[in-house]
């Protein structure tokens, strides 16, 4: 394997780890820690209602269309699994049912298309 056993420069690595630890905490603390119980404006609350339903699809869409496992090539098993997961999740409103259906679709198609 080409990448195996090639450690990064430890200084760079530790700068990244510490920077991310501090940065991630700061991102999470900024509102809940500093804003606290002060009332937030209506327009902020209105937008925040749609945070999860916008950010999660935005995060997932590129991973579905251009999966890294295939080097970014669109892949039939992965796209089908994604579609089945979403539809079953919508239909049953059950997260586990969606995951099970999606995983079954992925493995079935990967196995059929080998």
């Amino acid at each position: 394997m080409t990448v195996h056993g090639t450690p990064f420069d430890p200084v760079t690595l530790w700068i990244v780890i510490i920077g991310m630890a501090v940065g991630s905490f700061a991102l999470r603390f900024v509102f809940i820690g500093l804003v606290g119980s002060r009332a937030m404006p209506q327009w902020v609350l209105l937008h925040l209602r749609y945070t999860a339903v916008a950010m999660i699809p935005a995060l997932v869409t590129p991973l579905v269309i251009w999966p890294s496992a295939t080097g970014g090539e669109p892949d039939l098993p992965r796209m089908s699994a994604a579609a089945v997961t979403l539809v079953v999740g919508l239909w049953t409103k059950n997260v586990l049912a969606g995951i099970a259906a999606g995983a079954a679709t992925l493995y079935l198609l990967l196995w059929l298309l080998v």
Binding site: L27, L59, R78, L90
Partner: protein, 238 residues
């Protein structure tokens, strides 16, 4: 007895977090394996997972480290992927903001996709919950998942050897997140937010440093908010 009911909310959250075992387990494992493969030692992998505690951002940083990207770009990209937790933090503030500072500091650390998505649904469903009950539920949502994440990372780093590609673990995150979307689409405005986020994410894929994710997320949020205002004016939504 308020402490007893808080306790029951803690365990209710633990039970409701079961589906996320299938997210945190494989992903912690995968991060441990990929970290070890990339040459990180056990201390480095574990410090990464325990202090940063943000799967998607950790994978981004690891990927960019392997590509030998400049340190500042690595930090900016990985934190950009994690910007959504700032929005989660803001979204939880009306519910948890009245708690003591030390509790809010712990809550901040534990703000991740899983704890947020479980808690926000619960808090909206039962607005009469007291603050200690909400905090108990929030910490309960991580009572199982956080230790699992640490242990899974450790196992992955120890196993070190590659998990067979045939397991297609790369697709565990998309499947888990997609399964969460269905139950979230409670109103037409939620559907609009999702569709705009997806289309924008596709159009913005060339935007450097993972900023496309933020652009798409913000576009989806604005679309959802505008759709809600429009539907409310028409009397189609309350």
């Amino acid at each position: 007895m308020p402490s007893a009911t808080s306790k029951s909310y803690f365990w209710k959250a633990v039970r409701e977090s079961f589906p996320f075992i299938f997210v945190a387990g494989p992903f912690g494992l995968l991060f441990g394996v990929l970290g070890a493969e990339a040459g990180l030692n056990l201390v480095e992998v574990m410090t990464f997972s325990v202090t940063v505690f943000a799967g998607a951002a950790q994978f981004t940083a690891l990927q960019l480290l392997r590509e030998e990207a400049p340190t500042l770009i690595i930090l900016a990209s990985a934190l950009a992927v994690n910007l959504r937790v700032a929005m989660y933090s803001a979204s939880l503030t009306p519910y948890l903001g009245g708690a003591p500072l030390w509790q809010r500091a712990f809550a901040a650390y534990f703000t991740v996709d899983q704890s947020y998505s479980l808690s926000i649904v619960q808090f909206e469903k039962e607005p009469e919950m007291t603050l200690p009950q909400r905090m108990a539920y929030f910490f309960g949502s991580n009572g199982l998942i956080a230790p699992l994440w640490y242990v899974a990372t450790l196992v992955g780093a120890l196993v070190g050897a590659r998990i067979p590609e045939a397991w297609a673990l790369d697709f565990a995150l998309p499947i888990a997140f997609l399964a969460m979307i269905g139950p979230m689409l409670r109103t037409p405005a939620h559907v609009v937010a999702m569709l705009v986020a997806i289309v924008t994410a596709i159009l913005a894929v060339g935007v450097p440093y993972n900023l496309g994710l933020l652009v798409a997320g913000i576009a989806g949020m604005m679309a959802g908010a505008q759709a809600e205002l429009w539907l409310t004016r028409r009397g189609l939504m309350t």
